[in-house]
């Protein structure tokens, strides 16, 4: 069987698996649709959260990005895992005790404010759509590259699958499908990494291989660092970003992760407060398996690439080079007409002739390592699992925001349970179609808006939820003024440098040298400061709200359908 046949078989099998799981776990009530009936075992919820969190970008692009950024890529590794510590210690158990369905539910009830609820809903929808268009685009790219169907058809197929289990099954269908998707994606990620580790470092554990010594006694990292210096690339072990900027980006990504609505909502789905605590641990463990493998793949692939192309005659390059040259992910121009590939960094004397796209590090890995055809098909199935699971989780946040937060809690409180469920399904359906449209016609600024999503989550949700739990004195005026100042400051900074004056977006012009990716950290600090000062100057919240805060701080009493009347 060839690569394409294997891809068809493995992708087809994985899709059949997801649909089978979805049919077995249809949602019959709004509670099942929104939070899977609150009955998901913590281990399963951890796996589902991991699949929900790890997107097409984590699967396809992260290892490649690290292999080009070296040390600077650590901001993603620490930023996208460290947020789960904040989530476990500061948010998840208390929100589980609070026990309603969404993040805007908490914001609206805790601060007794329709305005706060609506601000939260708008942020949740914006953040989720930002993300989801990238996922659908990822689905289209993978299907078109591996199965050679047009991108549009790829997106439509992906939409059909997501539509099926998200609209039918709601959170219940999504959760159990994501458990299956986690298994597929982690297997697909590890198999090539293990093969690479065996061939390059004599160990089947990629994490150990990253720190291994080669046959000559020189460590892999030292050898790569030497190659980088020789070829004029920036240091792999040191990086080139300013320390303050690295701090700010890491903090913004961590806090943003903890504030993302599609991640937070997962911890409403477990039966008990103690399940919410341990469930974050499982989620982080499952995420860490991929996140500690990624830097290993980055080093293996980078070393492999430099070894196999530098200063080689073009005809002698391996077959994978020809294949990926036709896709445009690698391109070579013989600037000095010597028929050899000069791959050089900015500090080298001489002209660089090779451009390499970062996504190739994961996509072409199996071929670079000379792995069998079925592994290539497996990588395609894994990338699709990563993209589809994240898309489904995000679409659920959008549909819940519309049917629950906007209809039920704000504009049509009289709506029946059945009517709300219909509205949720319709909203999910519309959201899938809209996401598909964005996937086929991606707005040119997808990469830029990711900074936006994290910046907004960091500067709005995180402080307002944290203060709502840890400060009984925090009131409506403080929360709203804090959220607004945090969002406006962060959004203004990002819009200024990313959309209005992209040519000025260099460290000399940034405020304190902090990039737009890291500005959410300052937005968060501003939110905390404004909220604290304003709340001290205004009346404390009502006795009912103070009792609510006392209630969520203690685990006992979080029944399966517990509602606290504030």
């Amino acid at each position: 069987m060839g690569v394409q046949a294997w891809t068809f078989v493995l992708v087809g099998l994985s899709f059949a698996l997801y649909i089978g799981v979805a049919i077995r776990s249809r949602a019959g009530s709004t509670r099942e649709f929104y939070v899977a009936g609150g009955g998901v075992p913590p281990l399963a919820n951890g796996m589902a959260t991991a699949a929900d969190w790890m997107s097409a970008a984590s699967f396809l692009s992260m290892a490649g990005a690290i292999s080009f950024l070296g040390y600077d890529g650590s901001v993603y590794l620490m930023g996208w895992t460290g947020g789960f510590v904040l989530l476990a210690l500061l948010l998840a158990p208390y929100l589980r005790k609070f026990g309603k369905f969404t993040v805007p539910d908490f914001v609206g009830d805790r601060y007794e404010s329709r305005t706060a609820r609506i601000v939260a809903v708008v942020c949740a929808i914006f953040v989720s759509f930002t993300y989801v268009s990238g996922q659908m685009q990822g689905v289209g790219i993978v299907l078109s590259r591996f199965l050679e169907v047009p991108v549009t058809w790829g997106v439509v197929i992906g939409m059909g699958i997501v539509f099926f289990y998200a609209v039918l099954g709601g959170m219940k269908g999504i959760t159990y499908t994501q458990v299956a998707q986690y298994c597929v994606l982690i297997f697909a990620y590890l198999v090539p990494a293990i093969f690479l580790a065996i061939s390059m470092a004599d160990t089947p554990v990629p994490q150990l291989g990253l720190g291994a010594h080669g046959a000559d006694g020189v460590s892999l990292l030292a050898r790569l660092e030497g190659l980088h210096q020789e070829l004029g690339f920036a240091s792999y072990l040191d990086g080139s970003k300013a320390t303050l900027d690295v701090l700010a980006i890491t903090l913004a990504l961590m806090v943003g992760t903890a504030g993302l609505p599609h991640v937070i909502v997962r911890f409403y789905t477990v039966p008990k407060v103690r399940d919410a605590r341990i469930s974050v641990g499982w989620a982080l463990l499952f995420i860490a398996i991929l996140y500690t493998t990624a830097p290993a793949i980055a080093v293996f692939a980078r070393t492999n690439l430099l070894d196999s192309v530098r200063d080689r005659p073009r005809e002698e390059l391996p077959a994978w080079f020809d294949k990926w040259e036709t896709t445009g992910l690698v391109s070579w121009t013989d600037r000095n007409d010597d028929g050899r590939v000069q791959y050089l960094g900015p500090a080298a004397e001489g002209v660089n002739e090779l451009e390499v796209h970062k996504d190739i590090m994961v996509l072409a890995n199996p071929e670079i390592a000379g792995l069998p055809d079925w592994v290539v098909g497996l990588v395609a199935a894994g990338a699709l699992a990563a993209a589809l699971s994240t898309a489904a989780g995000l679409l659920l946040v959008v549909s819940t925001s519309v049917s629950h937060d906007l209809l039920k809690r704000t504009f049509r409180p009289s709506i029946s349970e059945k009517g709300e469920l219909v509205a949720a399904r319709v909203a999910a359906g519309v959201a899938v179609c809209l996401a598909g449209y964005l996937g086929i016609h991606p707005p040119g600024f997808v990469a830029e808006v990711v900074a936006f999503a994290f910046g907004l989550a960091a500067s709005s949700f995180f402080p307002v939820i944290l203060l709502g739990i840890f400060s009984k004195r925090m009131n409506r005026a403080g929360a709203i003024s804090g959220m607004l100042s945090g969002i406006l400051f962060t959004a203004a900074y990002i819009v200024w440098f990313k959309f209005l004056h992209p040519e000025l977006s260099t460290p000399e012009h940034w405020w304190l040298g902090i990039s737009p990716e890291g500005i959410g950290a300052l937005g968060m600090a501003l939110n905390f400061a404004v909220a604290t000062v304003v709340s001290r100057m205004t009346a404390p919240p009502s006795a009912a709200v103070q009792a609510l805060v006392e209630e969520i701080r203690v685990p006992r009493g979080s029944g399966p359908a517990h509602e606290i009347d504030a």
Partner: protein, 103 residues
């Protein structure tokens, strides 16, 4: 330790007196402050602020410069441990104060 057994008409907030409730909360905040200090020390400390200085040593028995290891492997492993430690210690604290959830 007296554990309230009644579940239907129990007083709010786990049935604790205001003093016990305040003590429970102080213990919780103390625990998570300690864990967050470790969280910050391995990532912002060892992984970022001190990574160049730490790079002069290797992680014993490997080819990892220590600062780089913290930034790309060590901090993530510590994060996982922190969350499990938190879950364990909090469950114990809940039982001590009799506010753990009935099965």
């Amino acid at each position: 330790m007296e554990r309230p057994r009644h579940s239907l008409d129990r007083p709010p907030a786990g049935g604790l007196t205001p003093e016990r409730r305040a003590e429970y909360w102080t213990r919780n905040v103390r625990l998570l402050t300690g864990l967050l200090l470790v969280w910050a020390a391995v990532s912002y400390g060892a992984g970022i602020l001190l990574h160049r200085w730490l790079d002069q040593w290797m992680l014993p028995g490997s080819g990892f410069p220590l600062g780089f290891w913290f930034a790309q492997q060590g901090s993530i492993l510590v994060f996982v441990v922190l969350v499990f430690v938190y879950a364990r210690r909090m469950n114990r604290l809940d039982r001590e104060f009799g506010v753990d959830e009935e099965d």
